[in-house]
Amino acid sequence: MTVLAAQAVVLPFLGALCGLLLGPWLTRVLVAGGLRTAEDAPTAPPTEARGVEEHVEAVPGVPGEPVPEEGRPAPAGLRGGGSRGALGPVLFAVLPTALTTVLTLVIALTVWRTPGTRTGTLVEVQTGGPPILVGLSVDGLAALLGVLVGVVALAVQVYSVAYMRDEPRYSSYAAFVSLFTSAMLLVVFARDLMVLYVGWEIMGICSYFLVGHHWEDKANSRAATKAFLVTRVGDAGLLLGIIVLGLGAGSFDIATVLDEVGGMPHTTVVVAALLVLCGVAGKSAQFPLHTWLPDAMAGPTPISALIHAATMVAAGVYLVARLYGVFLAAPVALAVLGVLAAVSMVGAALAALAQRDLKRVLAYSTISQLAIMTAGLAVGSRPAAMFHLVTHGAFKALLFLAAGCVIHAVGSNLLADMGGLRKAMPVTFVCATIGYAALAGLPPVAGFFSKDAVIEHAQSVAFNGGALDVLPAGDQGIPGWVAWTVYLSLLLTTALTAAYALRAWLMTFFGPEREAHEAPAAMRWPIIVLAGASAVIGFFGLAAEELRPHFGAAAMALLFTAAGAAGMFLAWRDAPASDPSDRMGRVRPLLENAFYMDGLYDRAIVRPVKWAGRVVRGTDTRVVDGAVEATVPAARGLGALARLPQTGNPQTYLTGLLAGAVLLVLAVVALT
């Protein structure tokens, strides 16, 4: 079993390696073998007409400004530019991912039929401290996440073949996606915290490279650096937390750590849980480390779907679920998690309400939805949180890929440039409708069941004054006010989510009609598959008693959903061509800039750090270099003194020589 998991991890990695090393060679072999590439095809599909406008991505930090068209068509006639002429890299990208998806499905089926945890260790690395077990472990949770990662990664790889067909650096792009898939599966299946951390960091660097894929634009590379640095702040905490846990338990093995938590001092557990929370907040873009995610939308849209919506950002939530025993032993950390989740979900949902850029709407929505998962964890419902993680992974990937189709067709990211695409793009319209319905939590699509499970649990915990039913009775749970905050924030977020989902949906597909073309088949099929998954995946929750919706909480949530949607619809109805958010008046800039958090961080952190950097540089040039440079005139002055006797007149030298000799003789005579 773990062998299968190991294959699933290694396959995409090999695919990435081979795609870079052997991709062009395979292309040549295939072409020589008589296989014609799409480039040679006599009739071009009609979508090629606007292929130039593919690489229109969000401009980070400048919400609402028109995006310049930065089409970079591949140099004409250059084979290997873009996925179109690069059959080898395409095969190396798609086939291993497809195999991995099959493997994850096999693993999930096996685990489903015979539940239990299976572990395997390749090698045990002695460190002098607790040993590092390089191994994998497969249980229900990991298998579930593995399937999510596999399916979304496959959908994105197939989608990218069409989306990136004119991209000159397709091979490296596909290789990074494969490497990312490999790293994410390593995180999911890791047995040891250190192995998990390795996968975690590889994901981070892949995210960095892929956000900055179009690095020719300075703003993109800045967004990549920001994403990298902000998540790094959290990762530093995570590493320390792992070390605290490992030293406390005497092992980095996750199962051992969870067994040992009861015996550790309470302070150690609290410190470890809070440190791990730093990493979670960084990776899962929770307040206060959420600012990188909206800017990360500068990456290509499939990347936003894979990394910044469905999988990598969910890794933080997954980590909490993995180490849930640690958090249950430290309810303080759960309370902190609950407060952060409440702030993140309401704040991000409000910000999503006012964004002008479709991808930024989805990015803030991602923050908000991830906060719903962490809220589920904070109120002690791991199954509900994981359920929402999976459904969210499906419908958010769907929404991003559908957004990619729309952006592809319209050539702009801005909602203002869209609208009326319902007739022109029927497939995208239907799929996106399912996605938005799932996002808003309408029955019977997936989001309803999972969000409802979280809300229901939060409600019961709030009514019980914060006592968690996963803890033994009488144990201290989270404070009652935290439980109430989480519950009320969830309801408020439900209303806001319905509002912004409806706004994005209306502004994309309704209003004055517009000429456009449907997306190519390779982009259509992934979203159709994901739409099907989003539609039915919620019913799997009915199998578990704790995930089943009940009338009271569900009706409450639907009431809020209806309120939010009705408010947005009324605002939109009068002027279908305009932006409903314009009615917010002076509140709008505040929301559009996400409460000026970026500006605040700029003032509070970025500028002081830059100032400190300047001080250090000044010290270096003026004090350290100054001391070195001051020795130069000193040496020169001494040299001038030494040069004085050199007159050029040999008679003077000889006089000196003679005087010296006489002195020496006198000295010898006097001393002997």
Binding site: L644, Q646, T647, G648, N649, P650, Q651, L654, T655, L658
Partner: protein
């Protein structure tokens, strides 16, 4: 005859030569002073040769060598002085200071 007379005499002769080398400006006079010093040495060699009654007369032989070497040296020296005069139109030793340290800084 005591050996002291020729030795004192040669010492005086040598001192005159040293003074000439160190103090004269004219290059030819400097060369002549060098000759004076050489001849002071020759005088010493001969005087000690006689005083020590050397059977092989090494001192005298060495003196002959010195005279030959001195002649060659003077030939060379005069040639240099001649060239110096041709190039610089003077043979003052203290004005030949091309190798002195100049005022401008060496970088």
């Amino acid at each position: 005859m005591s050996v002291a007379y020729p030795v004192v005499f040669s010492a005086l002769l040598f001192s005159v030569g040293v003074y000439g080398v160190l103090a004269r400006r004219n290059a030819i006079l400097v060369l002549m002073s060098v000759e004076l010093m050489l001849n002071a040495v020759n005088l010493n060699l001969v005087a000690f040769d006689v005083w020590l009654r050397d059977a092989l007369h090494g001192g005298q032989v060495l003196t002959l060598f010195t005279i030959v070497v001195a002649a060659a040296e003077v030939g060379l020296g005069l040639a240099i002085v001649l060239l110096l005069y041709r190039n610089r139109q003077n043979i003052d030793v203290d004005r030949q200071d091309t190798l002195r340290e100049t005022k401008q800084e060496a970088r």
